[in-house]
């Protein structure tokens, strides 16, 4: 059967949008079911019911006031904010040097950055743990998670460097002719031109710290006072309640802030992902 071009276009429109709606259901329904179960009564969450009756909004308040939840929240915020600030401060100069300085071994340094970026954290975890536990006696605190970020983060260095190389040399040279020092060139000329990249890297690092599970599991698990949301949440099902409703309420409360942050900073994110190095 042959369709006229107009009919074909309309058919394609219907087809594409049907697929899009089906896909949207796949991405949205998990959130919906989590939210519905989060407000079920204990009784109901043991059944196969899908719709809460009655809605027990109080579950969210109960979870919020669980002993420890506030501490996990605070620790996560300290880790994510502190980690992001330190990462930026330490990674930007390195990325600047790799992008704009000419020196022997620059290519090798760049390859080392990429290699470090691909290294699973488990490869070096044992000696690192032994140092933090036996020499520094700092396990059970947030220090082992935050301090290493003051020494540059390979992924952030890589992303920043990819963006910094696009700053034309002439701008840097012009500033130097005007008598600016190297640090001033970086702060006054390069950084203002790279705001989107810095925003993207900051967001990525914030999310990385916020979502990190392995680090807190290794370094903080021995002291509940140092747990983060990701680590604490995992203990929720077994330690506090046997029912799914409270676990899902907690899950919802852990997901909500990151999703909200995404809606606020969507543009920076999407730009950041496309910046991850693919030039097709």
């Amino acid at each position: 059967m042959r369709f006229s071009p107009a009919a074909r276009q309309r058919l394609e429109w219907v087809g594409v949008h049907s697929f899009a709606i089906a896909a949207a259901l796949f991405f949205v329904l998990p959130f919906v079911f989590v939210a519905l179960t989060a407000v079920m009564t204990d009784q109901q969450s043991l059944t196969r019911d899908l719709w809460p009756d009655p809605f027990r909004w109080h579950n969210l308040i109960d979870v919020w006031s669980t002993p420890g939840f506030g501490t996990w929240w605070r620790n996560t915020l300290v880790y994510a904010v502190g980690g992001t600030v330190l990462t930026l401060v330490s990674s930007i100069p390195v990325a600047h040097a790799l992008a704009h300085f000419r020196f022997r071994g620059r290519k090798l340094a760049m390859m080392m950055v990429i290699a470090t970026m691909m290294l699973p954290p488990q490869v070096v975890i044992i000696p690192m743990y032994l140092v933090w536990a036996k020499q520094l006696h700092l396990t059970g605190t947030l220090w082992p998670l935050i301090v290493p970020l003051a020494f540059g983060d390979a992924y952030s260095i890589f992303l920043l460097r990819q963006f910094l190389v696009t700053v034309p040399r002439e701008y840097l040279d012009a500033a130097k002719v005007d008598g600016a020092g190297e640090l001033q060139v970086l702060l006054r000329v390069v950084l203002p031109m790279c705001r989107p990249a810095i925003a993207a890297v900051a967001l990525f690092q914030f999310f990385y710290c916020w979502n990190d599970y392995f680090g807190p599991q290794i370094y903080a698990s021995e002291n509940p006072g140092a747990w983060t949301l990701s680590y604490g949440l995992q203990t929720f099902k077994s330690a506090h309640h046997t029912n799914w409703n409270f676990t899902m309420a907690a899950t919802l409360l852990v997901m909500a802030p990151v999703i909200a942050l995404f809606f606020l900073a969507q543009k920076a994110f999407i730009e950041g992902v496309t910046l991850t190095g693919v030039k097709g």
């Binding site: 991405f27 691909m118 290294l119 699973p120 488990q122 290493p148 392995f214 997901m255």
Partner: protein, 307 residues
């Protein structure tokens, strides 16, 4: 001070955070891991040299090593492939939308950002065989109800579903590349009377090849690090009680969700067999650096120009 020396000092100053970091958090622990792999060490009494014993134990007798490696191959073959195909499909879908493209893009991207522990818990709930909504719906439709995270044949597909849910990053990368396809190519294809399939096969796909390569290589590297989702899923689905004194047997059910990073944790932090844990760490190091080399060899394609 000569100009040359000043320049060297300047380079070192700017690079110093990274130079220190690489030494302290990469080279030192790597050498230390190599050293411990030849010793018997429980973390308390001093390490003693024991030659290749740990290597013999890990490759010959440790019951979890080969299952973990097999699982990793499964994840590379199935999860990485499906993620790439699905990411491409969703990307192609979104660029074709005329209405609501931004809304759909936002909705498709959001799950990627959900903290892995939270999204894993959500999926263990959604797919739990007792009261989970997915099996409830399957039951009402009269379809079979898989055991998902509680059944060794379904646990990896369940993890794959979770991975497909978080496809947002790949979708955006594919979208960016799809928007770059020269319009004239499609017009030329239309003049030649090409159908939808030939348009895809001869115009879209060749254009997307570097992105497919990027997706596969980064997918394989991510699979080498695959840790949080399988360990949390196994622990929660098994009903293991935290702080019960009982040790959680990793890879529940029946080692079907074991991955190599979990073995470092199991040997080093649960069994206090640091020597053997370091052997696994070195295997992991070798594998990931191998794939990193592939990525760098094709550097100009994947990493955007010369280094």
């Amino acid at each position: 001070m000569s100009w040359r020396r000043r320049e060297t000092l300047r380079n070192i100053a700017f690079l110093s955070p990274w130079l220190l970091g690489t030494g302290l958090f990469f080279l030192y622990p790597l050498l230390s891991t190599l050293y411990f792999s030849f010793t018997k060490y429980n973390g308390f009494s001093p390490p003693t040299f024991d030659g290749l014993d740990n290597y013999r134990y890990v490759f010959g007798h440790y019951p979890f090593f080969w299952p973990a490696l097999r699982n990793t191959l499964w994840f590379v073959a199935v999860m990485v492939t499906l993620r790439t195909v699905f990411g491409m499909a969703v990307g192609m879908l979104v660029v074709r939308l005329r209405r609501g493209a931004n809304l759909f893009r936002t909705v498709f991207y959001a799950p990627y950002l959900a903290p892995p522990v939270a999204s894993t818990l959500a999926f263990v709930f959604l797919l739990n065989p007792g009261t989970g909504p997915v099996n409830t719906v399957l039951h009402r439709l009269g379809m079979p109800e898989p055991g998902w995270f509680n059944d060794p044949t379904w646990s990896k597909p369940a993890l794959t579903l979770l991975a497909l849910w978080g496809i947002g990053d790949l979708m955006v990368i594919f979208m960016a590349s799809l928007l770059d396809v020269p319009k004239e190519l499609y017009e030329a294809a239309d003049l030649d009377g090409a159908g939808a399939w030939s348009r895809f096969r001869y115009v879209t796909l060749p254009h997307l090849r570097p992105i497919v390569g990027f997706s596969v290589v980064t997918g394989v590297i991510a699979t080498m690090q695959y840790y949080t989702q399988p360990i949390v899923a196994g622990e929660v689905a098994s009903g293991h009680i935290q702080g019960s004194g009982q040790q959680f047997e990793p890879g529940y059910p029946e080692q079907s969700t074991l991955t190599l990073p979990q073995l470092v944790y199991n040997l080093g932090f649960q069994r206090f067999d640091i020597g053997s844990a370091c052997v696994i760490a070195l295997v992991l190091f070798g594998l990931s650096m191998g794939f990193a080399a592939v990525l760098m060899r094709r550097g100009s394609v994947f990493l955007g120009g010369d280094l």
